[in-house]
Symmetry: C2
Subunit: 518 residues, 2 copies
Amino acid sequence: MKKRTLLATALLLQFAFAAQAQQEPVNLDAVHRIKQEGLQNSQVMQTAFYLTDVSGPRLSGSPGLMRASEWAKKQLIDWGLQNARLEEWGEFGRGWEVEKSYIAMAAPYYQQLIATPKAWTPGTDGAVNAEAVLVHLEKEEDLEQYRGKLKGKVILTKIDEKAETSFEADAKRYTEEELHELAMSLEASRSQSRWTPERIAAYRARMALLSKANEFFQQEGAAVLLSSRGGTHGTHFTSNGSPYAPDAKPTLPELEMGLEDYNRIVRLLEAKQPVKLEVETKTRFFSDDLKGYNVVAEIPGTDKKLKDEVVMLGGHLDSWHGSTGATDNAAGVAVMMEAVRILQAAGFKPKRTIRIALWGGEEQGLHGSRGYVKQHFGDPATMKLTKEHEKFSAYYNLDNGTGKIRGIYLQGNDAVRPVMEAWLAPFHDLGATTTTIRNTGGTDHLAFDAVGLPGFQFIQDEIEYDTRTHHTNQDSYDRLQADDLRQAATIVASMVYHTAMRDKKLPRKPLPKPREAS
Amino acid sequence: MKKRTLLATALLLQFAFAAQAQQEPVNLDAVHRIKQEGLQNSQVMQTAFYLTDVSGPRLSGSPGLMRASEWAKKQLIDWGLQNARLEEWGEFGRGWEVEKSYIAMAAPYYQQLIATPKAWTPGTDGAVNAEAVLVHLEKEEDLEQYRGKLKGKVILTKIDEKAETSFEADAKRYTEEELHELAMSLEASRSQSRWTPERIAAYRARMALLSKANEFFQQEGAAVLLSSRGGTHGTHFTSNGSPYAPDAKPTLPELEMGLEDYNRIVRLLEAKQPVKLEVETKTRFFSDDLKGYNVVAEIPGTDKKLKDEVVMLGGHLDSWHGSTGATDNAAGVAVMMEAVRILQAAGFKPKRTIRIALWGGEEQGLHGSRGYVKQHFGDPATMKLTKEHEKFSAYYNLDNGTGKIRGIYLQGNDAVRPVMEAWLAPFHDLGATTTTIRNTGGTDHLAFDAVGLPGFQFIQDEIEYDTRTHHTNQDSYDRLQADDLRQAATIVASMVYHTAMRDKKLPRKPLPKPREAS
C-alpha cells in the first residue's frame, strides 16, 4: 500500500469516527433508574388484571370499555399524572354487550358447542329449538331452492376451511435471521400482504353475496345464523355482524364458532343426518351516549422553552367482545400505563410534556386516534395543520400483542434511524436490537403518520397472536407474557424519556400531500 | 490369522447365514393386495365419521356407546363378517349422559365459560344463579372456616396450575432418534413413569382430602362444584366425578373447565371482586341395563386344522363424554374395522379365524377386554386356563391416538421379534420400522398379556394426544389424521393376515404366575 493511499484511508477512518462521534446522546443513568423500576418493581400485570379480568370485554361503546376507561383514568391520577380525562373523539354509534350466550346440539345427541354472538347482532327470540339447514351458496341464484324452507331454522353456509392439525408451535419469537431480514429491508412500503387485488376482489364478491344471502334468510324468517371464521381446539375468531350506527337495519341473530363444531354440523347435514340445535342469546344495545372517548393524561413538561412540546405514547383500550382483549390490546395499554408509572416512580422531571392516550374505537378503524389527531394536529384530507402540530415530537404505539420489543419500525423515516439505534443500544441485552425502515400498518401510529408526524409502532415477538389470541374468544389474561410486558414497558419508558429530554424534536419526513388531492 | 481360525470363522459365518435363511416368510403378493385396498380404497374416515359425529360421546353404559355398538355390528355384518354380536362381558353399572350444560359468569360482567359436567355427576337444581366462593384447602381443618357460608354457593378450590404458553408444537411425530432409542431399550419393563412412589402418595392424599372436602360441601348445601384438570385455549380435560355403581351415594353437581376460565374466577375472588355465576346442567342416569358389552365379529378360518385357532384385533369403543372420543379411541376402532374390511374386500380366505373385538368399559379399567379374556381364555388371578387359550395365536390393539404406526412393542417377548421384523419390512416405506422389547401399558392388550397370551399394542406417532385430545372436550372428528389411519389399517390388515396364515401360532412368553400367589 502506498503512503498516499494510507493517508487517504486514515482520513476516511477519521471521518467515519467523526460521524460516530455525533452519535445521539443516551443518558445511561436514566436508563439504569428506568430499568431498576421497570424490571424490579413492575406493576404491569396488576394493571393488565384490572384491564382484563376486572373490566371484561371492552367493545367500543360498551359498558366494559367505559369501566376500563374510568379505572385507567383514576389509576393514572393515582400515579400523579395531570389533566387526566375522558376526551371525546367524535361520534361512534351504539354500544352493545352480550347478556346470555348458549348453544348446543340437541339431536342426533346432546353436545354443548362453543360459540360467540357476532358483535352488534340481536339476541334470539327466547330459547330457540330448531333444525339446522345447510345452505350451499356459490351464487345468488342458489338461494332460490331454499325459498319457503327456512322459517324458524338455524342456517349454516358451507365453508371450505378445515380444522387442520398444525405441527408448528402456536407461540413463536423472532429468530435472528428474521430480524436481520427486517433490518435489511430495501424499502419502507414493500407490501408483504397476501391480499392480492384478485384476492380482495374475490373477498368482496363473497361478502356481497353473503350480505344478499343474509337479507334473504331474514325475509324467509330464519331464526339464527351460524358462521365460522376459523380457529381450532376451542379457540374461535370473533368479529362484528351488524353495523353499530344508531339507524342500522336490524339483522338476524348470528353466532361464530370454531371449525370443529361448525364442520361437525355441516358433515352431519351433508350425510342427511338431521341436526337440531338449542340456541338462546340475549344482547343489549346502548344508545344513551353515542360518542366515543379516549383516555388522556399527562406528565407535564418542566423546561420553560420545551414544556409546551409534547411526546405521546399510547395503545387502544377497546377490544373485541369474545374475551377480555388481553393481547389486543390490554397488553399495549398496560405497558404504556406502566411506562408512565415508571417515569413517575423514578421521579423524572421531563423537559417536554409526556402525554399518554388510550384510544377507543380502534377495532372499527382507528377511530379514536384519527379523531384525536384531526382535532389536535391536522386533517389528513386537507392537510390543514394546527399549532399543536408544530409542538409535537413523536408518538409511540404498542399494539402487536404480548410479545416483547425486538426493535422499532422507522416507518420510512431515515433521519430517525441513528436516534433510535442509540436509544435502543442499552436494551440490546433485553432483545431489542433492530431498526427497520419498514412501515407497519393496522395500528394507531398511522393516524399520526397520516399528517406527517413521527408515529412509531415497535417490532414485537408474535407469541400466539395469529394463532390463538388476536380477535378470538381466548384472548384472556393468561395469554399475557409477564416478562415480555416488563421488558416492553421499561424500553418504552426510556424511549419516551429520551424523546422528552432531547434538544430537538424528532426529525420528520416531508409532509404528505392532502389525501383529497391524491 | 491361522488356517484353523479362518475355517472356524467361515463356519460361523455359514451358521449366521443359515439363521438368516430361516427368516419368517412374508407373502408379498398379499401385502400388495392389502396395500392396494387399504391405501387406494380406504373407508376408514367414513367409519370414523359414524363412530364420532353420528354416534356422539360413547361413555360406558351410555346410549351413545350403544348406538355406536349397534352401528359397528351392522357395518361388520354388511362387510360379510360372521357371528357379529354384542357380547356381554359382565356387570358394569349405570349409564349416564349430559342433557344440558350451560355456565357463564354473570358478574362482574357477562362472560360465557367453557366447561363440561364430570361424568356420573347429577345436574343442578334448575338454573343456579349464585356467588362463587374460593376455598383454600391445604388440610382438612381448613374447611372449618367455611362452615355455614357455602349454602347455595358455587365452590372453587385454589389450584397451582397455570395456563402456560407453550413454544412447542401441540402435534408431534417420533423422530428417528426417538425410535432408535426405543429399539435399543435394554429391558421390557423399565418404568419411565413420572409417578414416583412419593408422587403417588401425595396424589392419593390430595384425592382423600378433596373427597372429604366434597362431603363437607355437600353437607353445607353448596350448589355446584367447579374444578380444572388443565387444558388451555378452550381445550379442557374431562373425567368422572362420581361412581357409576347403581348404589353409589349422590354427589354434588360438578363441572370441569380449562385453566383460563377457572383461574380468571380464582384471580377475581382473590382480589375480593365478587363473582356471580349462572349454571344449569341436566344429566341423566340409565339403570335399565347394568351390563357391559363388547362388539365381536369374525372372518371364519378356512383351514381344516387351523380354523379353530383365533387371531384377534381390537380397540375400545367407549370414550369419555366431553366430545366424541375421536382419537381415544374411535381412531383405533375405525382402523381395526377397516383392517377387516380390507381383508374381506381383497377376498382373502384366512387359515385361522380372524376375530375383531370392540371393547366397552376400557376407560374405567379395561373392563371389557378383561371380562372377555376371563370368560374365554383364563383368569389371571388363578391362572386357570380354558381350551380356547390353547387355540389362540395373538391379539393386536390400537389405542394410542390417531398417529400412524411406527412399529410394535414386543411386550418382553423376544421370540416374536424376528416375526414382527419380517412382517413390518414391507411397511418400512410407510414409516413402520421399529420393534422394541419394551412393554407398553394402559391399553387392552394387557388383558391378554396377563394370562400369557401374545397381546400387542403398536408404536404410534403421538400427534396431539397428550396436548389436545386424550380425555378432552376437543377429541372430535377433525382431530383425526386421515393418512395416518389409512396407513395403520393397511399395516394391521397385513399383520393379522400373516398371523392367520402362519404355520404355527405366535410364540409365547412363559406363563405368568397366578396373581393371587404373587
